[in-house]
C-alpha cells in the first residue's frame, strides 16, 4: 500500500507512455522472521523499471531494516551536499517493536525513503541503489556486514581522520581554538533557520502525537461510558431502559470512530511531521559535512601555501631537495584543488537542494493539513449524525411512557 504522499516516481503516471523512462519502487509485505532476540522484519522490495541499467521490467528482493541503513550510509558518503532522505528510527522499546502499528509505520516510511531516492535526479543514478534494488540476499548480507563502524573507512580515510584530529589538537595547542568556519551571511542564516526549525517542528510533532493519544482516550471513555449507561438501563424497564440502551450503543459506536480517526491521524499527520523532523536532521548532517569540507579545503590551502613558500626557499638556495619538494608540492596542490572542488560542489548542491527541500515540504505539509482537516470534519460529522439520529428515538421513548 503506497501512502498518499506526493512522492513522484512512486506510481506510474497515467499520462506517460511506456517508452518514457521510469523507475518505480514499492516496499511491501512485512514478515517477521527469526526467533526470540534475533527476530526481525523483512520486506519485499518490488522494482518496476524500463531503465537499461536494471535487470528486466520487474525485480523482487527481500530486504531488512539494516539493508536500508546500509544504502543510506553509502549515499551519504558518496553524495555529499545532497540531503539524503531520512530513515525511520530504530525502535528502542522491545515490546513495541513488533506491534502492527509500528510495523506499518515503518513500512510506510521505508517506502517513502526508497521512492525519494528513486526520484532524485542525482541519487537515482547511484550504483548502490541498483545494488540495493537488485542484488540477491546473500550479496546484500555480505555487503551489509562489511560496512560497520570504523571498518567503513578505507585506509586513506583513516589517515585523513588521524590528520584531522592532529590538526585540531595543534590548533588548540597553538591557541587557534576556534574551528575554521565559513563567513557567509546567507549560509549562516540558513544554518540558524535549520536549527531553529528543528525545535519548532519537534514541538509540533509532540503535540500531534498527544492529540493521537487524546483521540484514543476519548474513544476509550466513550466506550466505558456507553457500557455503564447500558448497565444502568438494565435497571430500568420498558422505554426508559430502551432509551438508555440506545444511548449506550451509540456511545460505543462513536468510540470505534474515534479509534479509527486516531489511527488516521497517526499515519497521515503525525508521521509526516516526524518525517519532517528527520529530514531536518538529515540536513544538519549535510551541514556538518560541508563544514568538514570547508575546513579541509582551508587546511590544505594553508599547507599548500607553506609548501610553496618552502619550495621557493629551496629553489633560491639551489638545494638538491628541490625536486622532492616540487613533487610534494604538486601532490598537495592537486589535493588542495580537489578539496576546493569538493567544497564548491557541496555548496552548489546544497543551494539546489534547499530549494527542492522547501518546495517538497510545502507540498507534504499541505497534504498533511488536508488529511487532518478531512479526518476531523469526517469525525465531527460522524459524531453529529450519530447523536442526531438518536434524538428521535429518545423522543419516542419519552412520549410513550
Amino acid at each position: 500500500m503506497i501512502a498518499t504522499r506526493s512522492v513522484s516516481g512512486s506510481s506510474q503516471s497515467p499520462r506517460s507512455p511506456s517508452s518514457q523512462p521510469y523507475l518505480s519502487v514499492s516496499v511491501t509485505d512485512p514478515v517477521k522472521l527469526g526467533n526470540g532476540v534475533q527476530a526481525y522484519i523483512s520486506y519485499r522490495v518490488i522494482t518496476k523499471t524500463n531503465l537499461p541499467e536494471y535487470q528486466g521490467p520487474e525485480k523482487i528482493v527481500i530486504r531488512r531494516y539494516s539493508d536500508f541503513v546500509w544504502l543510506r550510509d553509502r549515499l551519504f558518503e558518496k553524495y555529499k551536499g545532497i540531503f539524503i532522505p531520512p530513515l525511520p528510527e530504530k525502535s528502542a522499546v522491545e515490546k513495541f517493536r513488533f506491534s502492527a502499528e509500528f510495523i506499518e509505520m515503518r513500512r510506510q516510511a521505508l517506502d517513502i525513503f526508497v521512492n525519494r531516492i528513486a526520484s532524485h535526479h542525482e541519487l537515482q543514478q547511484s550504483e548502490d541503489l541498483r545494488t540495493f534494488l537488485q542484488a540477491d540476499e546473500e550479496t546484500m548480507e555480505r555487503l551489509r556486514s562489511q560496512e560497520t563502524g570504523i571498518f567503513k573507512k578505507k585506509p586513506a580515510d583513516l589517515m585523513q581522520i588521524f590528520k584531522d584530529v592532529q590538526s585540531k589538537v595543534s590548533d588548540v595547542v597553538l591557541g587557534k581554538e576556534k574551528p575554521v568556519e565559513e563567513s557567509n551571511p546567507e549560509y549562516e542564516k540558513l544554518k540558524h533557520y535549520i536549527f531553529e526549525l528543528e525545535n519548532h517542528l519537534a514541538e509540533a510533532q509532540k503535540h500531534a502525537y498527544r492529540l493521537v493519544k487524546r483521540h484514543r482516550e476519548l474513544g476509550q471513555s466513550l466506550s466505558d461510558f456507553g457500557k455503564a449507561v447500558k448497565l444502568l438501563g438494565a435497571c430500568e424497564g420498558n422505554s426508559l431502559g430502551k432509551a438508555f440502551s440506545e444511548l449506550g450503543t451509540k456511545s460505543e459506536t462513536l468510540s470505534v470512530k474515534l479509534q479509527k480517526e486516531a489511527h488516521q491521524l497517526l499515519m497521515n499527520f503525525e508521521e509526516p511531521l516526524k518525517d519532517y523532523v528527520r529530514a531536518v536532521q538529515s540536513i544538519k548532517a549535510t551541514i556538518a559535512e560541508r563544514a568538514n569540507a570547508f575546513r579541509r579545503q582551508c587546511e590544505l590551502a594553508e599547507t599548500t601555501k607553506l609548501k610553496e613558500i618552502n619550495l621557493n626557499k629551496l629553489t633560491l638556495m639551489r638545494s638538491d631537495k628541490v625536486g622532492e619538494a616540487e613533487i610534494e608540492y604538486q601532490e598537495l596542490k592537486a589535493e588542495s584543488e580537489e578539496a576546493t572542488r569538493m567544497f564548491e560542489m557541496i555548496v552548489r548542491l546544497m543551494n539546489e537542494e534547499i530549494v527542492r527541500f522547501q518546495e517538497q515540504k510545502t507540498l507534504d505539509m499541505g497534504i498533511a493539513f488536508h488529511e487532518f482537516a478531512k479526518g476531523q470534519a469526517r469525525l465531527a460529522n460522524g459524531i453529529a449524525n450519530a447523536w442526531r439520529s438518536l434524538i428521535p428515538k429518545l423522543e419516542a421513548c419519552s412520549s410513550s411512557s
Binding site: 521510469y22 487524546r214 469526517r378
Partner: protein
C-alpha cells in the same frame, strides 16, 4: 525529468484541494446561531465538486428539521419555566402522593416514577392539583458580624442571604415577605424536618463544604451557595407535605432569629448521655425510653443506655440463634431495596465514567489548542525567515491550520461545558440515593426499636413471673419483695407503652412506603 509529470499532476491536485480547504470558510467569524448554517453553506459549495472527499459523508439537513438546532418542545417549556435553573433535569419531588394517604392506589416504587417526574415540565412551578404557588428567591448576600466575640479565631463574620417568598397560599398569611437567614439556619431547618418527617423522602440540603470556601474566591463560593440554597428551598416548597410544614413556614416568615431548636453537636449529646448512664444503671433515672424519644432513632439521642440495648439487639438479630419477634416481612420492600442498591451502584458507575469522559473531552480541547499554538509559532518563524516563496505558501497553510485547530479547541470546551451540565443530573440522582437510604434507615431503625422493646418486655415479664413464683414458696419479708414486684410491674407497663408507640411509629413509616 522522470517524475516531473507526476509532480505536476500531484501539485495540481494539491492546489485544487487547497482551494477547497479555503472554501471551508475557516476565516469567517462564526457566531453561535449561524455557525452551523455557515458551515453547511460553505460545505455545499465545496460539495459541488463531486470528487470532493468530504461529499459522501455529509448530511445536508435543512435547519428547521434538524433536531440538534431546534430542540424539542418540552425542552423549551422547561426553560421558560425556570430561567435560573441551569440543569436540564430536576429531581422529582418525592412523596408526591404521600399527601393522599387514604384511598390511593398502591403505586409501586418504580423507577419509572423518577423518569416521569423529571420529564414532566409542570411540577417545578405549579402542581397539577391546584393553582396555588410558592415562589422563593434567594438573593443579596451580605457579610455580617457575629454579635458576641467568637471563641473560634478568624470567626466572627458570616454571610446572610435575603430569602423572598411570593405566595398565594392562605396559611402563610401574606402575599410577599422576606427574611434574612444564614447557612446555619438552613442546616437547622433541614435537621428539624428530618426529625418531623421521619420516613419521608426529603430533598437533600446543600453541603456544608467548609474546605471549598477556603479554596475558592469568596464571591464564587457565595454565588454557588446562593444558587444551591435557592434550589433547595424551591424543592421544599414543591414538596406537597413539607410545603405545609410549620418548620418551613417559620423559616420563611419569622423575622430575626430562627425560632427552631438548633441541633446540638454529637460531642455534647454524648456527654449528656454519659452523665445520664450511671443514674440509669443505679436505677435513679428512668430506664425506659420516653415516649417522645421512642419515635426518634437511638443514634441521634442522648440516651446511651438505649443505644447499647439496641446495639445488643441488632447483634442478636445478626448472630443470635432465634429470630426476633417482629421482622421485616414485606417482600416487596426487600426486593425494591435491592433494586435501589443496584440502581445506586450503576448510577455511581455511570457517574465515574461520565467524569472520565468529561476529562477526555477537556484534554482533547487542550491538546488541540496546544497544537494550534505550536503551528502559530511555526508560522511566525517561517514568515520571519522566509527566503523562498514555497516557505511563504507553507506559512499561509500553517496559519489556516493553526486557526482552525484553535477554533476546534474552543468548540471542544463548549461541548464539554454542556456535557457537564447535562450529565450533572446523574450526580443529582446520586444525591437522591442518599435521601432514599436515609428514609430506608429510618424504617429499619424504627424496626430495631420495636424489636428491642419487645425483647426487653418479654425478659421483664419473665422476671416478673419468676418473682411471683418464688414468693409463693419463700416466706420472707413481704414488703420489699412486694415492692420489687410493684416496681417491676411499673416498668413493664412503661415499657408496654413505649413498645406500643414504637410499633405505631414503625407502622406509620411502613405506610408511607406503601403509598409510594
Amino acid at each position: 525529468m522522470m517524475g516531473s509529470d507526476n509532480e505536476g499532476f500531484e501539485e495540481a491536485h494539491l492546489y485544487a484541494s487547497k482551494e477547497e480547504m479555503e472554501n471551508l470558510v475557516i476565516d469567517n467569524p462564526l457566531n453561535d446561531s449561524n455557525s452551523y448554517s455557515n458551515y453547511r453553506s460553505a460545505l455545499s459549495s465545496a460539495i459541488s465538486d463531486t470528487s470532493h472527499p468530504l461529499a459522501p459523508s455529509i448530511l445536508v439537513t435543512p435547519a428547521d428539521s434538524d433536531p440538534i438546532l431546534s430542540p424539542p418542545p418540552y425542552r423549551d417549556h422547561l426553560y421558560h419555566n425556570s430561567p435560573t435553573e441551569s440543569s436540564y433535569f430536576e429531581p422529582p419531588p418525592f412523596g408526591d402522593n404521600v399527601g393522599d394517604v387514604n384511598g390511593v392506589e398502591n403505586h409501586s416504587l418504580n423507577l419509572d416514577n423518577f423518569g416521569r417526574f423529571s420529564r414532566s415540565a409542570s411540577w417545578s412551578t405549579s402542581s397539577s392539583t391546584d393553582s396555588e404557588y410558592v415562589k422563593i428567591t434567594v438573593s443579596n448576600p451580605l457579610k455580617e458580624q457575629e454579635a458576641s466575640n467568637s471563641i473560634v479565631p478568624g470567626g466572627g463574620t458570616y454571610v446572610t442571604y435575603l430569602i423572598t417568598t411570593r405566595t398565594n397560599v392562605p396559611e402563610f398569611g401574606g402575599v410577599e415577605f422576606s427574611v434574612r437567614r444564614r447557612f446555619r439556619d438552613v442546616v437547622t431547618l433541614s435537621d428539624r424536618l428530618a426529625e418531623s418527617y421521619r420516613g419521608l423522602f426529603i430533598p437533600p440540603r446543600p453541603d456544608k463544604s467548609v474546605v471549598e470556601s477556603q479554596v475558592m474566591h469568596k464571591q464564587e463560593f457565595v454565588e454557588l451557595r446562593r444558587v444551591a440554597l435557592e434550589k433547595y428551598l424551591r424543592r421544599l416548597a414543591a414538596h406537597p407535605v413539607i410545603k405545609r410544614s410549620d418548620e418551613l413556614k417559620v423559616f420563611l416568615q419569622v423575622q430575626g432569629k430562627l425560632p427552631l431548636a438548633t441541633t446540638t453537636d454529637v460531642a455534647s449529646r454524648m456527654l449528656d448521655g454519659a452523665v445520664k448512664l450511671p443514674k440509669q444503671l443505679l436505677g435513679e433515672s428512668s430506664v425506659v425510653v420516653a415516649p417522645h424519644e421512642v419515635v426518634q432513632p437511638a443514634k441521634g439521642g442522648r440516651d446511651l443506655l438505649r443505644l447499647f440495648k439496641e446495639l445488643k439487639q441488632s447483634v442478636a438479630n445478626d448472630w443470635g440463634g432465634s429470630r426476633p419477634l417482629v421482622v421485616e416481612e414485606d417482600k416487596e420492600f426487600i426486593e425494591r431495596k435491592e433494586k435501589i442498591n443496584d440502581l445506586e451502584q450503576q448510577l455511581s458507575n455511570v457517574s465515574k465514567q461520565a467524569e472520565s469522559l468529561v476529562k477526555a473531552q477537556q484534554d482533547m480541547g487542550d491538546t488541540m489548542a496546544e497544537l494550534g499554538l505550536a503551528f502559530i509559532k511555526l508560522t511566525k518563524f517561517e514568515n520571519e525567515e522566509a527566503v523562498f516563496n514555497s516557505q511563504k505558501a507553507r506559512a499561509h497553510d500553517m496559519k489556516g491550520f493553526a486557526t482552525a485547530a484553535v477554533k476546534a479547541s474552543r468548540f471542544y470546551r463548549e461541548l464539554n461545558a454542556q456535557t457537564v451540565e447535562h450529565l450533572d443530573t446523574i450526580h443529582e440522582y446520586l444525591g437522591l440515593m442518599l435521601v432514599v437510604h436515609s428514609a430506608f434507615s429510618d424504617r429499619s431503625s424504627a424496626l430495631l426499636t420495636v424489636q428491642t422493646l419487645l425483647s426487653e418486655l418479654s425478659s421483664l415479664e419473665s422476671r416478673a413471673e419468676k418473682l411471683e413464683a418464688t414468693s409463693s414458696k419463700v416466706f420472707g419479708p413481704g414488703k420489699s419483695r412486694n415492692r420489687k414486684i410493684e416496681d417491676l410491674k411499673e416498668t413493664i407497663r412503661a415499657t408496654e407503652d413505649a413498645k406500643n408507640i414504637a410499633i405505631r411509629e414503625y407502622q406509620r413509616i411502613k405506610m408511607i412506603y406503601q403509598v409510594l
